[in-house]
Symmetry: C2
Subunit: 395 residues, 2 copies
């Protein structure tokens, strides 16, 4: 509930922008009818949104009688949103319209441990290059969304005690962009961004889990259409849930039997190395399975069962409609998904699995970057996002 005059003003601007974005009311008269606001209040708000480049007003619509109305729309082509997906070894960016259409994207290899200034400097270069190659002015940017491979205090965009990402602890990512782009910068954990990307892409889902099985194991949670981050931004950190019967497996967190120590890409690579195979990382496991190596295949199936045990408990608890499996190991979907599904259907309650879908990612490598862009777009049209946007333009 809005409390201050300024909050109420921003809520009002957000309401109008969302009515236009969703196509519910796309003329000034329709906005007056939809909101009950006075003509002058609508005019004042719409004019501000147009002036700041979030809405556009088109040529008059053809009508049979009377004065033809001007139609309103999101400033989609003129207003750009940038999605960024930073991984341990990749930096992927995508330029989209405010309405969500992808205009261009680019990926390059990085080492996230080079630290925030160098990595984000590289992102700024990527942005400039992509804008130029596509004939877009960087001034058209309206919002930026960034997913990073570590825990984030989402309110401020600060990286908090990341297990990887050397040099990033306590770094407030939006600070880097403040001098460069006067737009809201939304930062979140990469798996949260992937979950949000798949959620927006699958229009019929409301409660979705995105399980990333790569070097580690993590989960993004959408509950009732909203990203669930939990009390300290740690929600979805399922890699260290304990597995029965693996008390002899030591995890890097200091506990034993964590699912990440048993079934992640790096755990599988270690297990295959112990069998004398050439496997240094998750990608090598995928290669060995693709080459038809039975020991590798067996390991992946056992990993699927272990992950399924953990997910069965989470299905009983959260009752999602969709579980999306992504990450490098998800390429092995025939082997991995079969065992994950088998355990969940055997172990979780029938009421919770009746209509549950367990599927591979539809967006694949693009899930993170598209989720970042969509979350940034949605944020931009929210009361807080509009507030941050107007504030940044004022400086």
């Amino acid at each position: 509930m809005a409390n201050s005059a300024e909050e109420r003003r921003l809520a009002g601007l957000s309401e109008l922008a969302c009515l236009v974005a969703d196509g519910v009311a796309t003329t000034r008269s329709a906005l007056i009818a939809a909101t009950g606001l006075s003509r002058s209040a609508v005019a004042q708000r719409v004019d501000l949104l147009i002036e700041r480049g979030l809405l556009v007003e088109s040529e008059p619509l053809a009508t049979d009688r009377g004065r033809p109305p001007y139609s309103l729309d999101l400033a989609s082509d003129e207003a750009l949103v940038l999605g960024v997906d930073l991984g341990a070894t990749h930096s992927r960016i995508a330029l989209t319209t405010l309405g969500g259409r992808v205009l261009a994207d680019e990926a390059r290899e990085i080492d996230i441990n080079a630290g925030p200034e160098r990595i984000l400097g590289g992102v700024a270069e990527q942005i400039a290059k992509l804008c130029e190659a596509n004939g877009r002015a960087p001034e058209s940017l309206r919002a930026i969304g960034i997913g990073v491979p570590g825990p984030v205090e989402a309110e401020s965009g600060t990286v908090v005690r990341p297990p990887i990402m050397q040099g990033w602890d306590g770094y407030r990512v939006p600070a880097f962009f403040e001098g460069r782009y006067p737009v809201p910068v939304l930062v979140d954990n990469d798996v949260n961004m992937m979950a949000f990307g798949e959620y927006v892409h699958r229009r019929e889902s409301e409660h979705l889990l995105f399980v990333k099985v790569g070097t580690g194991i993590g989960c993004g949670i959408v509950a009732g259409g909203v990203l669930h981050r939990g009390a300290s931004g740690a929600a979805g950190d399922i890699g260290h849930i304990g597995l029965p019967g693996h008390d002899d497996v030591l995890c890097h967190c200091g506990n034993v039997g964590c699912v990440e120590a048993v079934a992640s890409g790096s755990a599988l690579a270690a297990a295959l190395r112990a069998e004398g195979l050439d496997a240094r990382r998750a990608g090598d496991v995928v290669r060995l399975v693709s080459e038809g190596h039975p020991v590798a295949r067996r390991q992946v199936r056992l990993a699927g069962r272990a992950i399924g045990e953990v997910l069965a408990a989470l299905v009983s608890f959260h009752n999602p409609d969709t579980i999306v499996v992504g990450g490098v190991l998800a390429q092995l979907h025939e082997d991995l998904l079969a065992d994950i599904r088998g355990v969940i259907y055997r172990r979780a309650l029938p009421l919770a699995t009746r209509t549950l879908k367990i599927e591979n990612s539809m967006l694949g490598e693009q899930a993170g970057v598209l989720g970042s862009a969509r979350l940034a777009s949605r944020h931009l049209l929210s009361p807080r996002g509009i507030g941050a946007f107007l504030e940044a333009r004022r400086r």
Copy 2:
């Protein structure tokens, strides 16, 4: 986002009612300023809310100059909300004001298996008796919230395949009240109501789990201030999550090693019976422990560890700020909570437990009935609740 003219009208009524309820705007002028609505639009909506008995307009406020404004408030004393908590063997009701103050409550013993018509008939008797004893007219009722001991399709208030509650499967609870009270009736699982009651009572909590340890084991989930029911209303059904090392324990669900088969009140009573003790149900376990019986005490501590194992995984996944333990066995908090806490702090991630509170219920036996009343109040002021209320009054 509101889509039809009627939905937008209800959203507008809800907005005004909530601004008044929260004390943000309590005069017509303040509502005009807060919403940007025209004077006539505010007048039309406020008059309707007063006429239907949700708002009241008081004597003019004293001011120094000009025409003194009339102040608006929730029709709290004139408008009542009823909370109902149905258990396997009890029916508790509480009469509250729309603002949440408890006026009176009453509990009686029932057998839920007597079926919906008899049980709800008894509730109707309780309502009439409580209203009369407190000099309140049943016509003052504005909303009813009911918690039942089984799964509920919350949208329609229909009981769905309850493990107990003979004769209730497929019964739409609001239908019983339609002829009697022209108000919205909100039905939900009893543990969800308890979770919501504790959530409202603890103002600083946002992500709360209410774990009920009684005859069975269940959980209510609040995520971001909203009850999380999941895709098929099965969220929080944690009693059948599998526990490591208990593959020899058969559960009534047909699986083995479910936490409910190992650590619930009925499981503990069975274990104590096997030791030759007189224990038929959860309450007997509490009695034996209170009498200082070491075997009973030992069983409760082992149960605490088992429940802690399950909750540790859920803490890593959901990252709540508060876990409330309720139900009959929660009376043994010194024994039960100590072990639950011990396992969670040892096993869940430090980032997720840093600020986590694990406590006994503050509301005790009242959690369900107060949660039902508060959820019904909140529903009544929502767009859908206002719609249902106006619709019912029209008939």
